[in-house]
Symmetry: C2
Subunit: 417 residues, 2 copies
Amino acid sequence: MTDQTKGRLSRRGLLTTAGVGTLGAVAPAMAPGGSQAAPAAGMEDMVDLTRSYPFYGKGEQAGVRTPPQRHVLFMTFDLTTRQRADLQVLLARWSGAIAQMMRGETVGRVEPSQPNAVGFDTGEALNLGPASLTVTVGLGPNVFGETFGLSGHRPALMRPLRELPSDAFVPGLTGGDLSLQACADDPQVAYHAIRDLARIAKMTGFAETRWTVMGFGRASAGRGQSTPRNLLGFKDGTRNIKDDPDFEKFVWIKDGPAWQQRGTYQVVRKIQMQIENWDTDRVSDQNNVLGRHKVSGAPLTGKEEFDTPDFKQLGEDDKPLIPETAHIRLAAHENNGGLKILRRSYNYTDGINRYGFLDAGLLFIAYMNDPAHFETLQTKLGASDALNEYISHIGSAVFFVPPAPREGSYIGAALFA
Amino acid sequence: MTDQTKGRLSRRGLLTTAGVGTLGAVAPAMAPGGSQAAPAAGMEDMVDLTRSYPFYGKGEQAGVRTPPQRHVLFMTFDLTTRQRADLQVLLARWSGAIAQMMRGETVGRVEPSQPNAVGFDTGEALNLGPASLTVTVGLGPNVFGETFGLSGHRPALMRPLRELPSDAFVPGLTGGDLSLQACADDPQVAYHAIRDLARIAKMTGFAETRWTVMGFGRASAGRGQSTPRNLLGFKDGTRNIKDDPDFEKFVWIKDGPAWQQRGTYQVVRKIQMQIENWDTDRVSDQNNVLGRHKVSGAPLTGKEEFDTPDFKQLGEDDKPLIPETAHIRLAAHENNGGLKILRRSYNYTDGINRYGFLDAGLLFIAYMNDPAHFETLQTKLGASDALNEYISHIGSAVFFVPPAPREGSYIGAALFA
């Protein structure tokens, strides 16, 4: 293919000058037969599995603002101890292990020097490199209850989410006392991280697994990335938070005790999508459900993906071009008193359901400095979103994500001071 | 394949000119604290998502000898028609769609020009590039039964697998009339391929989904790749088939009607691994179960991964260093009349099981020119393998994989001539 040949040439150009240039989103060329061809190759098509991020730091944990990696393993845990010191030990052991794995190291030796010992690390990520691994630790509402005597440390806005109009929870897919979000550009690296942290939890006897989702794709966009698509086939994240002022205003916690500052709240929803039903819908209707054009991602009132939607513009029938029930209208900050949340979602599949339909959806993960922001948006979406015909919120949880620990410390250390 | 070799060479050329040296398998350096560090960056750490493979050709289908991509979506289907012409239509439509997707194109337009039409393609892989996609089509035993009047075309060695000592099948995870193995370096590209092919099956009304597994990692090794690890943490594929003579001798069918030549048999097993139990086992015992050292991959009688195992060598206790029940002893060609099969397996996870344990394992996919070869090996392994304490064969199927169609034709066209 000519496009690919060209792409290779331009990639050669980039690489021979050792430049790390980025190419923007490229409009798809038309191929014979009416199908749409791949864009020319660009640097964004190369995944560097040697990249690593630091776990320790002065500010926020990695995995929130970090450019979304290609894979996620999300898991929640129930605490099985009532002792504060046990929670402390678990968070300290997890922190040490996470720091090692984010550097691309094993958690201790795979083959211990003591010949009859059990391995410290399960070994399957040996030599795979850090692959941009981030593991983000969240503390659930119960951590700040009476059990551990930590209610005095409860972040001001921390509480379970209230009931929302779209809730359709499957037993076993809600809540948790602790959450781990492992993201990496290699799924084996992400899986290894969660497996070894679950193993540490089990070995201490202080926590057990609750629910988990493996996600793929890049269902959220950062600077310099073209916007990825969800399993509805639409770009997802065009208007996501990208710039410093919005992170400061909507994501990071800036008041309360020092140990909570640069923290954030993590809201997680497992959203099942009836993709086979969706696929039988006309694209013109799909566009009206979302309020955007499927291929370009442009709002129905615009030409380009990043055009600002005009929610007042009327069509020839005197109705708004972006319908009243369109997803982007209901979710837009313009229609919600300026509210924005940071979305960091991934596609998932659970295979085939009992009726033979493809079982898939979106692991929606969002970060915000007040969980009420999600409730505000979801109250509106859950009631009126045209998309509700095709989705079900089957899982849900909320966590407080403390800032990163300093080197030599661990997640949530201030709780135990 | 010559094309692939050329591709590698030219890519290597590009990168070395740019000053990015290539490193082979690198022994892990020791990091402080006894953990094991990632190797230095090398060629193998970069995934080129612009690479594509041809679907049409003179010889075998892609996805068998193709260097294993990082992801697989495997799905089987039941035929819901009894008309030979319907099967013909389905295979022809699938072939056309696969050829498009392997070029990185959509299956027809995402937004049809007819404003009220349903999209031909579901759209989520738009602009993701070919990502080395291969879709390999298999025909199950029933295709060659009386239903379609095709029994005269049945490949000589085609039949259901016989009962084997390790069988522990879960209802719904066996068999199928057709199989699709979609492999790609981007999971969204692999998922999209299976989804759109399942959609075509449903739209024709001729086939419905049966069972599916999504796999990750590179659980098999080709030339120039360091051997990937399975979820036991061990290298898997060290002695896999790599060279032309072995492919000719053990993989490709070379007799029978012309349309069967360069075909092969695909044996698929979903192998659940009790990884949490495994993780409580001492590494010295794990090494004895496999017959190799966990970190280096060397046989217990050797120093380096690719050292030939010495099954006769005795230890100080006068017992064989590689135990009688070690996996590699039972599976070795030296102990099975020279038999080899091509393995092309992937790791999978099904999350957490009902008891709270991590639910994971290996999607074992193997290719061979006689399914009896698998039965021979598995009869021995199923009866005596020390690994059986930790694994269960919960799914199984066998398919005939015809050669690639010529341009303008489709998979299995000779059946309908």
